[in-house]
């Protein structure tokens, strides 16, 4: 697939690297030659230096034949303009990164389609949604609803007190058929487990199940659900703003920010939240604001390090649920092993969203998931595709992917070795990074 990415910022370059690893034809446009030269010399993709809103540059990058045009510069207006131009030149599909909730409204969709923007991504909004899910279910690391919640993928960190600890996967499979273990994350590495793998303490285990069996998973993992009411947010970023707007009065938010100007603006825009001007790195400030009796702590400053450390000290004060924004991908795995409840990464959220577009799946009904080195995709099975050619165990799927479940006639069900997948099913595939293109081959 030919993909053009305009804007080699954080999201843009992450996407470009990822997609080039997925064996897509990637062209990256940016104005900054220096930034491009590093990517150009080290990754298997083409870079073009020039303005992402110039007709010549966009046409020169091959927009006329491209399948997907992604505009992810930091400027919303430029992204929309770039998409309009690309669509005009002949791009099949365009995506613009935006920064305005108003644009996401369903009623404006038609307008954007008319001017040539097919999809919008709003990473801050995705992050806010992710945080809301995490606040609702404090015991999970990751929670993904697929096909309106027909199937659910949960990531749970295993503790020593869990009854699963030390058990072999096949033992569990003999006991019950209520859920399927799709993947295990162990020591910075995600593995697709086989029957003879064991559950170990400190693993993060990804289960697929139907909604009614989720409580059973929670019980087996020895977890408790804590209801969250009081939430302390460190850093009044755009995500914080989005979050308070999204969650409404369900939670009591308190936002601490170090910048006075920002605090005044926040106070104006978030009437429901309490804004505190102060330094959340300072223990006294935290104590003053009642760190000891809050239910959840969310660190959303610009610095991943501060977010991680602040979450850790919040944990020490007895906060049950901590959420940290970690934008440096290298740190995610470290942060996960450090007992931080949930980790938010805008880049991963945006790129997983775009993967969903790539696979041409219906991005409306499923919540697409983003992990640092794995992806879950929901894909509709087309007639005559390779995956329908036999029972799952006879398909010889490669070891870096697994079928986590499927949705047939709107009903979620689990998949065993004997399941035969039929055209029209929606299949939930869990795959490690770099294997998405294999999925495409399997389903087309």
């Amino acid at each position: 697939m030919r993909i053009i990415i305009a804007g080699a910022g954080e999201v843009g370059s992450h996407l470009a690297k990822l997609l080039s690893r997925e064996e897509q034809d990637v062209t990256l446009i940016d104005q900054d030659a220096e930034r491009l030269s590093i990517i150009d010399a080290n990754y298997n993709l083409m870079t073009i230096q020039g303005s992402p809103t110039s007709f010549d540059v966009i046409a020169g990058s091959g927009a006329a034949q491209c399948d997907l045009f992604i505009a992810v510069t930091p400027f919303e207006a430029r992204n929309v303009t770039a998409c309009c131009i690309a669509k005009g030149i002949g791009a099949k599909r365009t995506v613009a990164r935006i920064d305005n909730y108003e644009y996401m409204r369903q009623s404006h969709r038609e307008f954007f389609n008319r001017i040539g923007v097919d999809s919008l991504i709003y990473p801050e909004y995705l992050a806010a949604k992710e945080i809301v899910t995490a606040l609702e279910r404090t015991w999970v690391r990751n929670w993904f609803e697929i096909h309106n919640g027909e199937l659910i993928v949960v990531g749970v960190k295993m503790r020593e007190n869990s009854e699963l600890e030390g058990m072999q996967l096949k033992e569990l499979a003999m006991k019950q058929h209520l859920f399927h273990v799709a993947a295990i994350k162990r020591n910075h590495e995600t593995i697709i487990p086989r029957g003879d793998d064991y559950f170990l303490a400190n693993d993060i285990i990804y289960f697929t199940s139907r909604r009614e069996h989720i409580d059973e998973i929670r019980r087996m993992c020895g977890k408790k659900q804590n209801d969250v009411k009081k939430v302390l947010i460190m850093g009044g970023s755009r995500i914080a703003l989005r979050l308070t707007a999204l969650a409404g009065d369900k939670y009591k938010f308190k936002i601490i920010d170090i910048d006075k100007e920002k605090c005044i603006r926040l106070a104006e825009r978030c009437p429901d939240a309490r804004i505190v001007y102060g330094d959340a790195r300072d223990i006294d400030t935290l104590r003053e604001e009642g760190i000891t009796d809050i239910d959840a702590f969310i660190a959303l400053t610009n610095s991943s390090e501060i977010n991680i450390l602040a979450s850790l000290s919040a944990k020490e004060y007895g906060v049950r649920k901590t959420i940290a924004e970690v934008e440096d991908i290298q740190f995610i795995s470290q942060a996960e092993s450090l007992n931080i409840g949930t980790i938010i990464n805008k880049k991963l959220l945006a790129s997983s969203h775009i993967f969903q577009l790539l696979l041409d799946a219906d991005s409306e009904s499923s919540k697409f998931m983003a992990l640092a080195d794995a992806d879950v995709a929901e894909i509709e099975v087309r007639p005559k595709s390779k995956i329908t050619k036999g029972a799952v165990k006879d398909l010889h799927l490669s070891r870096d992917m697994t079928i986590a479940g499927l949705i047939r006639d709107g009903k979620g069900m689990l998949v065993s070795g004997n399941t035969i997948i039929q055209p029209g099913d929606h299949v939930v595939v869990f795959c490690l990074q770099g294997a998405i293109h294999k999925i495409e081959r399997l389903f087309n």
């Binding site: 030919r2 080039s20 690893r21 064996e23 034809d25 990637v26 062209t27 030659a33 220096e34 150009d40 010399a41 080290n42 990754y43 298997n44 993709l45 083409m46 230096q49 910075h188 590495e189 995600t190 991908i329 290298q330 995610i332 795995s333 996960e336 640092a372 080195d373 990074q433």
Partner: protein, 492 residues
């Protein structure tokens, strides 16, 4: 979470494994001279059969016998692999010369093979007509392979290198200061460039075949002209056919071999304007035309105007052959005087466009140098002016300009150093420097030009090994080879 691997050791097993793959490809190419021998019923088919077996077995052993613990390759592996591939190809490529009916020494054979792959075209053979058709075919084929690049060929056909490690090798092998990609993926870029190369070679073969050449000669000359290598099947080289048609056709295709291939790729899709917008291509044309005028004046001055050809086709042939580093000479080149010889030196030094099959320091670098020099001179009087080096309408960052200047300095130093070492081997001063120059710039103009022996055979063995190293250094544009000799490269 994919952890960025911390490179502590160079991943030797992986490097050797990839080289194994490449050797198997080389052995596949050796089937062509093998078949040639069979067709002509020559005894040399045995030497090729033996070489193919050895190369294929060695390649297979390395590929399937080595199980690297990790498969990642970084910058260091990229440089090392690129340099080693050329050495391994020459080691196995020299075997036919050693096993042939009239064997030559290991030093000679290695020199010949390296000269082939680097498209230098310097030869130790005093008479090529005595060689079998198979050997002649192999010499031309080596040049053809090396012309566009061994790594580039592999990138086009083997998907296994199609990741960021392959990028490093692409950057290490392709000539030029910056490397344009013509398509998003490196394999597509490689396929595109090789596609242009292959089609041009095919056209040249057909054109030569229509003329007075036999099919065998056409193929060999197409291989060695397109790659701007310069091996011939006759002692008298292209002059043997005594045909203006052959000279004109070969001149045109050598010229094309000196043009940036990604530019030709674009032009082949109808975008001819890109040629006229390209400063390097324009300078290439201008240099050719200006030197042509100077050649004609010099020839007239020397009273060598014997026929219309001697002021049209012959000087043009000589200029193109030199600037593209092919290194073919016309018969009466020596009689044109020393001024012409001096011009030839200049042409050899800079060669033609980067990203072509030619050698030399490349016109791109000459342009950067001249524009930067002009800026520096202007700044003597107007020290506060902000000036930039502009090429193809784009500003060139200062670090690239300084890299180019560093390159040119090292280039001259290597020629000097090579010359000095050769004089220590007992070669006369002028000839030592000339051979060193000729090999670093991959031109391979015969040592005969300076009146020292008929071919490179006369150079002592140790000198041949030094020249082989110089050829490789020149072909991979200095840094890829020199970096291997720095302690920092090997340090943990």
């Amino acid at each position: 979470m994919l952890h960025p691997h911390i490179h502590i050791h160079i991943n030797f097993p992986m490097v050797l494994k990839v080289i194994g793959w490449l050797l198997m490809i080389e052995s596949a190419f050796m089937v062509i001279p093998f078949a040639t021998c069979l067709i002509y019923g020559e005894a040399d088919f045995k030497c090729f059969a033996l070489t193919i077996t050895i190369t294929a077995i060695a390649g297979a052993l390395m590929t399937f016998g080595i199980h690297p613990r990790r498969t990642d390759m970084g910058k260091r592996e990229g440089f090392l692999l690129t340099a080693l591939v050329w050495v391994f190809f020459s080691i196995f490529g020299m075997l036919p010369f050693i096993f042939s009916v009239e064997p030559i020494s290991v030093s000679d054979a290695f020199f010949e093979a390296m000269s082939g792959f680097t498209t230098t075209g310097a030869s130790v053979m005093t008479s090529v007509e005595a060689l079998s058709h198979g050997i002649l075919m192999w010499r031309s084929l080596m040049q053809w392979l090396g012309g566009m690049g061994i790594i580039l060929f592999t990138l086009a056909v083997l998907p296994m290198l199609n990741y960021s490690g392959g990028m490093q090798m692409f950057n290490a092998e392709v000539t030029g200061i910056t490397h344009d990609k013509i398509r998003p993926r490196i394999s597509q870029t490689a396929k595109g460039l090789w596609g242009v190369y292959f089609v041009l070679t095919l056209i040249l073969t057909l054109l030569l075949w229509i003329g007075p050449m036999s099919f065998f000669d056409s193929v060999c000359h197409a291989f060695s002209s397109m790659s701007t290598g310069g091996f011939s099947t006759r002692d008298n080289s292209v002059g043997a056919w005594n045909s203006d048609y052959v000279k004109v056709v070969i001149t045109i295709f050598m010229f094309l071999g000196g043009v940036n291939f990604s530019l030709m790729y674009r032009a082949s899709f109808g975008d001819f304007k890109c040629l006229w917008r390209n400063d390097v291509f324009k300078s290439y044309l201008r240099i050719v035309l200006v030197t042509y005028v100077m050649f004609v004046i010099a020839i007239c001055h020397q009273g060598q105007v014997k026929s219309i050809e001697s002021i049209t086709i012959e000087p043009m042939f000589q200029i193109i052959s030199t600037i593209t580093s092919t290194g073919l000479t016309v018969n009466n080149f020596e009689s044109w005087g020393t001024f012409v010889l001096a011009l030839v030196f200049l042409l050899m030094f800079f060669g033609s466009c980067a990203g072509s099959t030619s050698g030399g320091a490349k016109i791109d670098r000459l342009i950067y140098l001249l524009k930067n020099t002009r800026n520096e001179i202007y700044r003597c009087i107007h020290p506060n002016t902000v000036l930039s080096v502009r090429v193809n309408g784009k500003m060139v960052p200062n670090d690239i300009v300084s890299k180019v200047i560093a390159f040119l300095c090292i280039y001259v130093m290597i020629i000097m150093l090579g010359g000095i070492v050769l004089t220590a081997c007992g070669i006369p001063l002028v000839d030592a420097f000339f051979s060193s120059f000729s090999c670093v710039s991959n031109t391979g103009l015969g040592a005969g030009v300076t009146g020292y022996g008929e071919s490179y055979e006369i150079i002592p063995d140790i000198g041949k090994w030094i020249l082989s190293l110089l050829m490789l250094t020149g072909r991979l544009e200095l840094f890829t080879v020199i970096i291997l000799f720095t302690p920092g490269f090997w340090k943990k």
